[in-house]
């Protein structure tokens, strides 16, 4: 079809003389080989809707880039080796001490390489922010229902990124071979040993023999810098491609439908805003790394399996697994010369289940609603009370475990008994999510009622009026059409009916257990008491057209 030569000659009415500008010629050259114009046609002026919560995913993307940049720098100086060396560096308190080359080179990065400490701290802070960003981003997607069709696969990609991010973080902070991280690795070894039948073998294969051995730093290194980030980069690219392909979701509002996306174009507005936001995130993390120390391994010392310090804590995202292992009773079953270490193995099993519980939710909701349509308009959390309550319950569960993971710190900082905290967490593990579920659902329904009131009666104006007969009333102002539309734009499902138990011939119909369960769940989601019916036009007219309404 088109060739670069003809493009150059034919292009532009305004510029008829001379060769095309260099940039244009370069673009033509690239288009002839890469077809960039077709790509740019649909994407250069692609519309992005504006909402502060859409920034959360960007925080993750940018902190990931920052981690890659600083991580590559750190590999230039880090020696992933467990050979023992004697320290002769500039940090006086450790001079003459035996330590692994990994620890030694981390000290070198921190004390001798100018800016090395800064890059180390940016790397570590960015990792914490990356995980926190993913957590909050995931919650945003969850509570607004952005995971619904067609975005379920992207939800799973994001979930996998979160899980892999956790393990990349764990293998990363284990690399310096310091006393704190070594304790974490020992915890992991103990957990692997608890696996029935194969645990001991897995541990010996992972550590190249008995713990700690001489191999795990080098092995964690290749996992941390190559294997996991490689997979994550692939998932990240896929995640972004799908975001582009599906186009962004948007909140309901005037002019915003399920069939359009309203916002501003990528070029120039989002190029500048999103591009600028990268620098904002990087700048803030650099400033944090300048003023807030993180993981001062020189104060912790090199790893020795027979030493430990108090207050040993993993990085925050591993805290809930720490909570699981701390509050679990120490059950052990011995039989036929074997030991089933339930006290460690059960937490090891619950650890992924906690995460899977939230990962599979979109599929459960889709099954309950039976809705196969695409959804591009976000829900306000209150308009999906059961979903919101489930999400809040999950978060409360996660945070109960975080408290369990730091039970020693809670005890020392708040002068509480460690036994009392442990028992509190054991009970809360079962009770708090239930309470949170019930309370959140009530709150959501209350907010739905308030929205309904606002639609029907208008907003409170704060003006008190005295009527001729002495009664005081507050004047309510009717809402604008935009507000009325926005508050009633959400759709409401009706619960699934099982239908009659007998067919037209009076023969008993077979209803599968799964159908019954679905009907039950559907009723719990959308039954009479589980959502507030939206105001109808009749209700509205009745009230507004009426007499002396206030």
């Amino acid at each position: 079809m088109s060739t670069t030569a003809s493009n150059t000659n034919a292009s532009g009415g305004g510029r008829s003389r001379g060769p095309a500008p260099a940039g244009e010629r370069l673009a033509d050259w690239a288009d002839g080989r890469l077809g960039i114009y077709s790509l740019a046609k649909s994407n250069m002026r692609k519309i992005f809707p504006d909402h502060w919560s859409f920034m959360l995913g960007e925080v993750c993307l940018y902190s990931f880039i920052i981690i890659i940049l600083t991580g590559v720098y750190l590999t230039l100086f880090f020696h992933p080796s467990m050979n023992e060396v004697v320290y002769h560096g500039s940090y006086v308190p450790l001079q003459g001490q035996l330590m692994s080359e990994a620890f030694n080179s981390t000290l070198h990065i921190s004390f001798e390489v100018r800016g090395g400490l800064l890059i180390r701290q940016i790397h570590h802070w960015a990792a914490l922010i990356f995980l926190a960003g993913m957590f909050v981003h995931m919650m945003r997607v969850f509570f607004t229902g952005a995971f619904r069709k067609p975005r379920e696969v992207n939800w799973l990609f994001g979930f996998l990124l979160f899980v892999l991010g956790m393990f990349t973080g764990f293998t990363g902070y284990s690399l310096p071979d310091d006393l704190l991280s070594g304790t974490g690795v020992r915890f992991m070894e103990g957990a692997i040993l608890s696996v029935p039948i194969v645990g001991t073998y897995l541990s010996f294969f992972l550590f190249g023999g008995q713990f700690p051995g001489h191999d795990f730093v080098a092995r964690f290194y290749s996992i941390h810098i190559l294997l996991l980030p490689g997979i994550m980069l692939g998932l990240l690219v896929a995640h972004l491609i799908l975001v582009f392909y599906h186009k962004h979701t948007q909140f309901a509002g005037p002019g915003k439908t399920n069939n359009n996306v309203v916002g501003m174009p990528l070029l120039p507005v989002y190029m500048a805003k999103a591009g600028g936001f990268f620098f904002l995130v990087f700048g803030v993390i650099a400033a944090i790394a300048a003023i807030a120390q993180i993981n001062p391994i020189w104060a912790i010392g090199p790893y020795r399996p027979d030493q430990v310090s108090t207050g040993a804590q993993p990085d925050w995202y591993m805290g809930f697994s720490e909570g699981l292992i701390r509050v679990m009773p120490g059950w052990e079953i011995n039989f036929w010369g074997h030991t089933l270490v339930l006290g460690v193995f059960i937490p090891l099993i619950i650890f992924p289940l906690v995460l899977v519980a939230i990962a599979v939710y979109p599929f459960i909701e889709a099954w309950v609603t039976g809705d196969r349509r695409e959804h591009h308009i976000l829900d306000r959390p209150r308009n999906a009370p059961t979903r919101t309550a489930f999400g809040a319950a999950w978060i409360s569960w996660y945070f109960v475990l975080l408290i369990g993971g730091g039970n020693d710190l809670w005890a020392t900082h708040f002068h509480l008994s460690i036994n009392a905290i442990t028992w509190f967490v054991r009970i809360s593990f079962f009770v708090v999510p239930v309470i949170t579920f019930v309370v959140t659902k009530r709150v959501c329904l209350g907010l739905q009622r308030r929205d309904k009131d606002k639609v029907l009666h208008g907003r409170e104006s704060g003006i008190i009026k005295r009527l001729p007969h002495g009664e005081f009333i507050e004047v309510h102002e009717p809402l604008s059409q935009e507000q009325l539309y926005t508050l009633t734009a959400h759709e409401q499902y009706e619960p699934v009916e099982l239908g009659p138990t007998v067919d037209e011939n009076g023969v008993e119909r077979k209803i599968k257990g799964s159908q019954k369960l679905r009907a039950k769940l559907s009723n719990a989601y959308y039954g009479e008491d589980n959502q507030i019916q939206k105001p109808t036009v009749e209700e509205y007219r009745e009230i507004t057209s009426g007499h002396g309404h206030h």
Partner: protein, 354 residues
């Protein structure tokens, strides 16, 4: 721009009908209030007042200039500040001057670029909202039919369905070939055998104080103190020091013999001195906290608590069994010595432990 009202076919009720899915039964009036359409664009002051726009331009340029200055500051700090200089910064206290200077200048240089770009976008670039059409993700029926037909044609041409022998042997080959990769993992480590059951402790091994590196005599162990010991001959410089100390680490306390409740513990002690494995039976943290009054030891990692006066049984926390005790006595020269290895594996439990 967007239409003023939602087209009929966009209404959920219509969509539901189109997909023919009964479960999504929807009330009669899904949207009681009509969509008024996009609100009219409101001009910002920069759109109508060139002086305000100029001000924005200067602000953006100032931010970019600050970034340039900060980068120069970064280079100057890198060259000029010695890496071991410390300064006092309120409220952070004494901190490394170079790290602080580099971080702040880099942070400002980056942040100013971002702030400039965002301010530029917000005040000078068009903020008119535009609507883009969405198209269904799923392919239209004719495309779907074509793809299915193509696939069937391809599968038919390959004869994979007809020539079952090829198909089955191919699946067999593809299933087996990854086994090579699994085999190659075998040499990641040796087999455990009984290595988790043995430590360096043996009959006649002296108990050496971890801190002084001298053999211990009973009189060196005072009541109320917690002493850490290692087997004689194990030095930090040994090739396998870490693996050995991970199993052999020992803690020693002196109790009043009448306070020892467990009979075996009393038998295995020497003048009230008892020796227990320091490695927690939960997941292997070293136990390091000792409460003199109650004779309890506590693992600082997960708070498992053991009663040293009662066979080191678990009294709180997630550990599953008592700490293994080492049988000790005194040799002819009056030094504490082991009377054998631990009788059960030390550290975390595992499947073969029994």
């Amino acid at each position: 721009m967007s239409s003023q009202d939602i087209p009929e076919e966009n209404l959920p009720a219509e969509q539901a009908a189109e997909h023919g899915h009964g479960a999504v039964s929807l009330a009669d009036e899904k949207h009681p209030f009509a969509d008024p359409g996009l609100p009219p664009h409101e001009h910002r002051i920069q759109d109508v007042d060139e002086r305000a726009a100029k001000r924005s331009e200067r602000t953006v340029a100032l931010l970019f200039t600050i970034s340039m200055l900060a980068t120069i500051g970064f280079i100057a700090s890198y060259v000029g500040i010695p890496h071991d200089k410390s300064i006092f910064v309120f409220p952070l206290g004494h901190i490394n001057a170079l790290n602080f200077a580099l971080g702040i200048t880099l942070g400002v240089a980056l942040f100013a670029i971002g702030a400039g770009a965002v301010h530029w976008a917000r005040t000078l670039m068009s903020d008119a909202e535009v609507a883009d059409e969405r198209h269904p993700i799923e392919a239209p029926p004719e495309v779907r039919a074509k793809v299915h037909a193509d696939f069937k044609q391809g599968a038919k041409e390959s004869a994979i369905g007809r020539r079952k022998l090829i198909r089955n042997t191919m699946f067999g080959a593809l299933t087996l070939v990854p086994l090579s990769g699994v085999m190659l993992l075998r040499d990641l480590g040796p087999l455990p055998h009984s290595s988790l059951r043995h430590t360096l402790w043996a009959k006649g091994k002296r108990l050496v104080n971890m801190n002084t590196n001298l053999p211990l005599r009973p009189e060196d162990v005072a009541v109320g103190s917690l002493t850490f010991a290692k087997p004689d001959g194990l030095e930090e410089t040994n090739e396998s020091f870490q693996e050995e100390i991970a199993k052999a680490a020992l803690m020693i306390v002196r109790l009043q013999p009448e306070n020892i409740k467990d009979k075996r513990e009393l038998d295995w002690s020497h003048q009230g001195i008892v020796a227990y494995s320091k490695i927690c039976t939960h997941v292997g943290c070293p136990i390091s906290l000792y409460e003199q009054q109650t004779h309890h030891v506590l693992c600082p990692c997960h708070q498992s608590t053991f009663d040293l006066s009662d066979g080191a049984r678990v009294i709180f926390g997630p550990a599953g069994h008592a700490l293994p005790q080492l049988r000790i006595g005194v040799d002819s020269e009056g030094y504490l010595q082991a009377l054998g290895d631990f009788e059960e594996p030390v550290g975390p439990a595992f499947w073969e432990r029994g």
